[in-house]
C-alpha cells in the first residue's frame, strides 16, 4: 500500500526533479500538442457561440480541408493556388450546409441539430474520400518536422510553427470578433437570436459567415495536423481529442479553447510520461476526459464558459 502511494505520489515528482531538462521537453511537447488541439476546438467554439450548434463534424471538416488541399496539390496546383482554392471550397461548403442542413432545422432542439451534424460527419467523410481517395497522403508545406536546440532543450520546428499559427489565429479572431461590424453581429446573435433578428441582423448570412470561418480554421488545423501525421482518415478522430478541451475551456469561450487545449496537452503528456507506466501505458485516450471530468465536478460550466442561470 505504502509502495503504491510512493509510486503514485512521490516517484513521478522525484523523476521530474531529477531530470529538469527532460521535464521541460515534455512540457513543451505537451504545450505544442495542446495548441494543436486548441486549433480544432476553436472551430467548435465559433459555431457553438454563434448558433448554439454543437458541430460534431468539425473533425471531418479538418480532414476534408486537408484532403482538398493535398488533392489539389497532387494535381499540380502550386501551394498558394491550392490554398486559395481550398478556402473557396470551404466557404462553398458553409453555404451548402446552411442551405441544406441548418435552414430546414431552424428552431429544432439542440440535440437534433447535433445529430444532424453527425450525419454531416458521415456524409463529408464519404464524400472527401470518394473525391480524393482514401490512401495516406503526405502534406508538405515547407516546414520540416525536425528539432533544434534552444537553451539546451529540444524544440520541434513544426510544433513551434503550429504554436505560432494558433497564437496568430486567435489574435485575428479576437480582432474580428471585437472590432468588425460582422464580428459585432456575431456576438449579438450569440447573445440572443431573436433580439438580433429584430434589429435587422440577417441570421442566415451570419450562419454562413460562422461556418465559413470555422471551415477556414479547420483548414489551418488540417494543414498543421496533416504536416505532422499525414493526411488520412484518422485525422477526423482528433475531433474526439478536442472535446475534453472544449468542456474544460467552456463551449462558448475562444480563450477557453486555447487555455483548455494547453492544459489538456500538458496534463496528458505529463500523465503519459510520469504516471502512464504505472497502469500499463496508452492512457492518452481517456486521460484527457477524466481530467476534464474531475474539473467539471468543481466548475460545471468549464473555465471560461458562461454560467447558465436557470429560471423556472
Amino acid at each position: 500500500m505504502l509502495d503504491l502511494a510512493y509510486a503514485v505520489l512521490v516517484a513521478p515528482f522525484r523523476d521530474m526533479a531529477g531530470a529538469p531538462t527532460f521535464m521541460v521537453e515534455v512540457l513543451i511537447g505537451g504545450l505544442a500538442a495542446g495548441l494543436m488541439y486548441s486549433l480544432v476546438a476553436l472551430g467548435f467554439v465559433l459555431i457553438y457561440k454563434a448558433s448554439g450548434v454543437f458541430n460534431f463534424s468539425q473533425g471531418v471538416m479538418v480532414l476534408f480541408a486537408a484532403l482538398t488541399l493535398v488533392g489539389l496539390m497532387e494535381r499540380g496546383a502550386p501551394l498558394i493556388a491550392a490554398l486559395l482554392l481550398t478556402m473557396v471550397v470551404m466557404v462553398a461548403l458553409a453555404f451548402a450546409i446552411e442551405r441544406v442542413v441548418l435552414r430546414p432545422l431552424v428552431n429544432q432542439e439542440q440535440i437534433i441539430l447535433f445529430m444532424a451534424t453527425i450525419g454531416l460527419n458521415f456524409f463529408l467523410e464519404g464524400f472527401g474520400e470518394l473525391v480524393w481517395g482514401s490512401n495516406v497522403k503526405k502534406l508538405d508545406v515547407g516546414i520540416p518536422d525536425t528539432s533544434f536546440m534552444a537553451w539546451g532543450v529540444q524544440v520541434n520546428r513544426l510544433e513551434l510553427t503550429a504554436a505560432l499559427t494558433a497564437a496568430v489565429l486567435v489574435a485575428i479572431l479576437a480582432v474580428f470578433f471585437q472590432r468588425t461590424r460582422v464580428g459585432r453581429a456575431l456576438r449579438a446573435v450569440a447573445d440572443d437570436h431573436e433580439a438580433a433578428l429584430s434589429i435587422g441582423i440577417p441570421l442566415k448570412t451570419i450562419w454562413v459567415v460562422v461556418w465559413s470561418v470555422s471551415g477556414l480554421v479547420a483548414l489551418v488545423a488540417g494543414i498543421m495536423w496533416g504536416a505532422k501525421s499525414g493526411v488520412q482518415f484518422s485525422l477526423s478522430l482528433i475531433a474526439l481529442k478536442a472535446l475534453p478541451v472544449l468542456i474544460l475551456g467552456g463551449f462558448t469561450s475562444v480563450p477557453g479553447a486555447i487555455v483548455g487545449g494547453v492544459l489538456i496537452g500538458v496534463g496528458e503528456k505529463l500523465g503519459e510520461v510520469y504516471w502512464g507506466p504505472l497502469v500499463g501505458g496508452a492512457i492518452e485516450n481517456w486521460f484527457a476526459y477524466v481530467l476534464a471530468l474531475v474539473f467539471l465536478l468543481f466548475r460545471p460550466q468549464g473555465l471560461f464558459g458562461e454560467r447558465i442561470i436557470e429560471r423556472v
Binding site: I111, A292, V312
Partner: protein, 357 residues
C-alpha cells in the same frame, strides 16, 4: 373503419390501464409476436444471423439508451462502454461459474453494468446537456481501455478476445459455436420481449413519470418533491442494465466472440442514432430505429448489385457512408421526432380512414 375503438368500453381499472387498450392493437401485437417466434421455421441462416439477431440486440441497447436519453433527458455517449461491461462480466461469470444457468448470467451481467453506470452517472448531478454528453465519453474510452489492458477480463487469452462458452438451456445449446442461429434468435427474442415489457411498465409508472419530470424541467421537478439525485442515478443504472444485457447478448448470441474493438465509440453513436431516428421517449421508437439502422447498410450494400451496377468496393463504401449520412439528415429534417411519431400520425389517419373527417 377497421382501426377504430368505437364500442370498446372500459369497465375496470385494469382494462383502463392496459398497455394496448384497443383490441386491434392487441391483435396486431399478438400476431406479430407469434410471427416472430415462428420465423426460425422459415427464415434462412443468413436472415437470422445478419438481420434479425442484430436487430434484436440493438433494439435492447436502444431501449436502454432511450430510457436514459429519451425519458430522463440525460444525453449519453457511453453506451458502448456499458455494453462492454455487460459483455465482459457475462464472460467472466460464465467461465468462472460454469454451473450458473446462462439465463441468470445475462441479468447478473446487467447488474454489473448497472453498478458501473451508477458510478459514471454521478457527474450528471452537476453538469447538463452537451457537457454531460462529452463527460460520458470518458466512460466510453476508459472502460474500453480497461478491458483492453487488464488481461484478467479476457482470462489471459493471448488474442485478447472473449469467446462465448457453450451453454445449454433445457438441454438445448444456446451459446457457443454449436448453437444454431434459430435457437439464439428465439432466446434473444424472449429476452427482448421480457425487457421491453418491463421498460414499458417502468415508463408508465411512478419511476418513468419522475424521469420525464426531470427531463422536462429539473428545477420544477425538484420543487414538487422529486429527488434529482435518486432519479438521475436510477435512470443511469437502469439504462446501463439494459445496455449491459444487450452487450452480453451481442457477444453470446450474435458475434460468438469479440474484442474491445466491437465496443468502440462507433457503437455508442450507432445506438444514439437508433434512439433519435426511432424517436426519443418512445419504446416502439427504439425498435423502429434499430430496424432502420440495421436494414439501411444491408440495403445499401445489396442495392447496387441488385440493380446490376458493379462498382469497386472502396467506391461503394464511400457511397454507403454518404447515403447513410444524407439519410440521417433527411430524416431529421422531415421528422425530428422520429419514426415513432410517423407511426402515431398514420394511426390517427387510420382511425378516420376511409372518411376525410
Amino acid at each position: 373503419m377497421i382501426y377504430r375503438e368505437a364500442g370498446q368500453f372500459k369497465n375496470t381499472y385494469a382494462s383502463d390501464q392496459a398497455i394496448f387498450p384497443i383490441v386491434q392493437d392487441r391483435v396486431i401485437v399478438i400476431g406479430l409476436l407469434a410471427a416472430a417466434f415462428g420465423v426460425p421455421l422459415v427464415a434462412t441462416e443468413y436472415w437470422l444471423q445478419a438481420v434479425l439477431i442484430p436487430f434484436l440486440v440493438y433494439s435492447l441497447a436502444a431501449l436502454g439508451l432511450n430510457l436514459l436519453t429519451g425519458y430522463a433527458g440525460q444525453v449519453s455517449l457511453g453506451t458502448g462502454g456499458f455494453m462492454a461491461v455487460g459483455a465482459y462480466s457475462a464472460f467472466k461469470l460464465a467461465t468462472a461459474f460454469p454451473a450458473l444457468p446462462i439465463l441468470v448470467v445475462f441479468p447478473l451481467a446487467g447488474l454489473a453494468a448497472a453498478l458501473v453506470g451508477l458510478l459514471f452517472g454521478i457527474p450528471s448531478l452537476r453538469i447538463k446537456g452537451f457537457y454531460l454528453a462529452v463527460a460520458t465519453l470518458a466512460s466510453q474510452f476508459f472502460l474500453v481501455w480497461l478491458f483492453n489492458k487488464v488481461a484478467w477480463f479476457t482470462n489471459y487469452a493471448s488474442s485478447g478476445t472473449i469467446t462465448a462458452p457453450p451453454r445449454t438451456v433445457l438441454g438445448i445449446m444456446v451459446t457457443g459455436p454449436e448453437a444454431t442461429a434459430g435457437v439464439r434468435y428465439v432466446v434473444m427474442l424472449a429476452l427482448v420481449m421480457v425487457f421491453a415489457l418491463i421498460a414499458k411498465n417502468l415508463v408508465r409508472g411512478r419511476v418513468g413519470r419522475c424521469w420525464m419530470a426531470i427531463r422536462d424541467r429539473d428545477i420544477a421537478a425538484e420543487i414538487i418533491g422529486i429527488r434529482p439525485l435518486r432519479t438521475k442515478l436510477l435512470a443511469f443504472s437502469v439504462s446501463s442494465f439494459y445496455c449491459g444485457v444487450a452487450g452480453a447478448a451481442l457477444v453470446f448470441l450474435y458475434y460468438g466472440s469479440a474484442e474491445t474493438l466491437a465496443f468502440d465509440i462507433n457503437l455508442s453513436f450507432l445506438v444514439l442514432f437508433m434512439v433519435i431516428i426511432g424517436g426519443l421517449g418512445s419504446i416502439l421508437g427504439s425498435f423502429l430505429g434499430a430496424a432502420f439502422i440495421v436494414l439501411v447498410p444491408i440495403f445499401l450494400t445489396n442495392a447496387p448489385e441488385a440493380l446490376g451496377l458493379g462498382m469497386p468496393v472502396a467506391l461503394q463504401k464511400h457511397l454507403e457512408l454518404m447515403v447513410f449520412g444524407g439519410l440521417i439528415v433527411f430524416f431529421l429534417i422531415v421528422e425530428p421526432h422520429g419514426l415513432a411519431r410517423l407511426w402515431q400520425i398514420s394511426k390517427e389517419k387510420l382511425r378516420l380512414w376511409p372518411f376525410p373527417h
